[in-house]
C-alpha cells in the first residue's frame, strides 16, 4: 500500500467519523429506517469516492503501456488491440435480446393504460365493498349514510339536513303543509312508482287543508272524511301500500331510492337524479340515515 492510498483511506475515515459524530450528537433517530439508510449511504459514498479515486490516480502513476498494436498508425500514434470487456459485451447482447422481446411481446401485450388501471382498481374495490357490506348492520349503514350525505347531499340539504331554510327539502320532517297542498293541486308524475301518476285536484279548498293538516300532524286521531280519496292509493295509514305509491308519513327506503333514481322537481326546486351514481348498499345506507333524523 502506498502513501496515496493511505491518505485516501484516512480521509474516508475522517468523513465517516464526522458522520458518526453528527448522528450521535444531533440525536438522529436511527430506528427510523430512512435515517439509517441515509447514514449508511453517506458512509458508502465517502468510502467509495476516495477508494475509487485513489485506485485510478495510482494506476495513472504506475501503469506502463503494453500490449499488441493494431496495424493502423497515424503519424506515430497507434492503437492497442483490446478485447471487448466481457461485462459490456454481454449486457449489449442482453439489451438486443430484450429489445426484440419488447418489440414483439412486451409492448403489444403489456402496454400500460391508465384507463385499464382505473377499471381494474374500481372493479377490485367494488368487489371488496360488496363483500364487506353484504350483511351490513344498522350501525354501519348509519355511519355510511351519514358520510355519503355530507358529501353528496349536504350542499343542497344542509349539513343538518334541515334544507337550509327552504332551499331544499327539510329532511328532518316529511313534507310541509304547503308542499302537500301544492301536490294535491298540481298532481305529480315523476318518481316512477308502480301506481304511476298522481292526478291533479283530488281534493280542494277546506278538504285539502284538512287532509294536509292531518298528514303534517303525523296522521294522529280521526282522519278527515276527504282523506278516503287519498287512502285509495296511499293506504289508510299513508304508508303507500307496500311501495305501490309514496309513503307520505316518513322517508322509507322506497321513497329514497325512487327520488334518487328519478330526481324530483317540486314546489321548492329541482333535485337532480343520482341515477347510477350510488350503489344499492349506499342508497340503503342513505335511507337508514334519513330515518334516524
Amino acid at each position: 500500500m502506498n502513501s496515496l492510498m493511505i491518505k485516501a483511506l484516512a480521509f474516508s475515515a475522517v468523513l465517516m467519523g464526522a458522520t458518526i459524530f453528527v448522528v450521535k450528537y444531533m440525536n438522529v433517530d436511527l430506528s427510523d429506517p430512512v435515517n439509517l439508510i441515509t447514514m449508511l449511504g453517506a458512509a458508502a459514498i465517502a468510502f467509495l469516492t476516495f477508494g475509487v479515486a485513489a485506485k485510478y490516480i495510482n494506476q495513472m502513476k504506475t501503469d506502463k503501456a503494453e500490449g499488441e498494436l493494431t496495424d493502423d498508425n497515424w503519424d506515430g500514434i497507434g492503437e492497442y488491440k483490446n478485447e471487448l470487456p466481457g461485462g459490456w459485451a454481454y449486457s449489449f447482447l442482453g439489451t438486443i435480446i430484450w429489445a426484440m422481446w419488447y418489440w414483439t411481446v412486451g409492448y403489444p401485450v403489456n402496454a400500460y393504460s391508465q384507463i385499464g388501471e382505473y377499471n381494474k382498481e374500481v372493479k377490485a374495490y367494488n368487489a371488496q365493498f360488496q363483500e364487506m357490506h353484504k350483511n351490513a348492520d344498522a350501525d354501519t349503514l348509519q355511519a355510511m349514510g351519514e358520510s355519503i350525505f355530507l358529501v353528496q347531499c349536504a350542499p343542497c340539504h344542509g349539513e343538518t339536513a334541515d334544507g337550509l331554510s327552504g332551499k331544499a327539502q327539510d329532511l328532518t320532517a316529511r313534507m310541509a303543509k304547503d308542499q302537500i297542498l301544492d301536490v294535491i293541486a298540481k298532481g305529480s308524475n315523476q318518481l316512477g312508482f308502480p301506481m304511476g301518476a298522481m292526478p291533479a285536484g283530488m281534493a280542494s279548498g277546506a278538504d285539502a287543508e284538512a287532509i294536509a293538516d292531518y298528514i303534517v300532524g303525523g296522521m294522529q286521531g280521526q282522519a278527515p272524511a276527504a282523506y278516503a280519496t287519498c287512502a285509495a292509493c296511499h293506504g289508510a295509514d299513508g304508508q303507500g301500500m307496500n311501495g305501490m305509491s309514496p309513503n307520505i308519513t316518513k322517508y322509507d327506503e322506497k321513497i329514497v331510492t325512487q327520488v334518487l333514481a328519478n330526481g324530483k322537481k317540486g314546489m321548492i326546486g329541482k333535485m337532480p337524479s343520482f341515477n347510477n351514481r350510488l350503489t344499492p348498499v349506499q342508497e340503503k345506507a342513505l335511507a337508514t340515515y334519513l330515518q334516524s333524523l
Binding site: Q114, I115, E117, Y118, E121, V122, Y125, V151, Q152, P155, C156, G158, E159, L164, K167, A168, I268, G269, K270, M271, P272, F274, R277
Partner: protein
C-alpha cells in the same frame, strides 16, 4: 449524405431530432386524432350557453375550477364518469383549468340545479357555510352579450364546420332566430329561479348574465 451531415452540425441536430421524434409521432398522432373526435351524441353549445361560457371566462371561474375529471376512483365517486378528449371537441378554447381551489365542474349539470346555482352564485355561504368562493351578485343585473355569442357560433360553424343547423342538432339560423331561441331558453331557466329582478329582465327580453351562466352550468354533463 452522412458525410455532409457530419460537417453541418445544425442539420445533423435536425436529423437527430427527426429520428428520435419519429417513434413518438407515429404513436401519438394517430391515437390523438382518433380520441379528439367528438364523442357520439355530442352537441355544440347553444347561443345562450356560449354566452354563459363567456361569463365563465370573463369572471375567471377557471382560476379556481377545473373541468377535467381524471380516471381515479376518488374523483369519479365525487364528479361522475372521467372526462374523454372527445367531449371537448366543440370547446374553443377548452376550459380544463389547472387549479382546484373549488371542485371540478365538468359534470356539474348532473348534480346541481338551476335553483341551487341561483342561491350559490348570489351568496355561496348561504348553501355552503364554509365556502370561500366569492359571491357574484353583479351577474344578476349585468346583461349577457348574446350578439358576441352568436358571432362566435357563426364563426366556428363557418371556419371549423361545427355542426350547427343539422337534423336533431342545435339550430342556429339567422340572428333573429338565434335571439328568439336564446330568449325562449332563458325564459325556461328564469321560471325555475326566484330572483324577481332576473324574472323582470327576462320578461322584458333581456338576458342577465346569471341566466346564461346557469344555462352553461346545466349543459356541463
Amino acid at each position: 449524405m452522412f458525410h455532409w451531415l457530419e460537417k453541418n452540425p445544425f442539420f445533423f441536430a435536425v436529423g437527430v431530432f427527426l429520428v428520435i421524434a419519429f417513434a413518438g409521432l407515429v404513436e401519438i398522432l394517430p391515437n390523438f386524432g382518433e380520441a379528439s373526435r367528438p364523442v357520439v351524441g355530442l352537441k355544440p353549445y347553444t347561443v345562450l350557453e356560449l354566452a354563459g361560457k363567456e361569463v365563465y371566462k370573463k369572471d375567471n371561474c377557471i382560476a379556481c375550477h377545473s373541468q377535467l375529471i381524471r380516471p381515479f376512483k376518488s374523483e369519479t365517486d365525487r364528479y361522475g364518469q372521467y372526462s374523454l378528449s372527445g367531449e371537448y371537441a366543440y370547446d374553443r378554447p377548452f376550459l380544463w383549468g389547472s387549479k382546484r381551489t373549488g371542485p371540478d365542474l365538468h359534470r356539474i349539470g348532473n348534480y346541481r340545479s338551476t335553483d341551487w346555482h341561483e342561491n350559490h352564485m348570489w351568496d355561496p355561504k348561504s348553501v355552503i357555510p364554509q365556502s370561500i368562493m366569492p359571491a357574484y351578485k353583479h351577474q344578476f343585473s349585468n346583461i349577457a352579450d348574446i350578439e358576441t355569442a352568436y358571432a362566435e357560433a357563426v364563426t366556428v360553424k363557418e371556419l371549423f364546420n361545427t355542426p350547427y343547423d343539422v337534423d336533431g342538432g342545435v339550430a342556429l339560423g339567422s340572428w333573429e332566430d338565434a335571439r328568439a331561441a336564446a330568449l325562449a331558453e332563458a325564459k325556461e331557466i328564469a321560471a325555475d329561479m326566484k330572483n324577481q329582478d332576473v324574472k323582470d329582465l327576462v320578461a322584458n327580453d333581456q338576458i342577465p348574465e346569471i341566466v346564461a351562466l346557469i344555462a352553461y352550468m346545466n349543459k356541463l354533463k
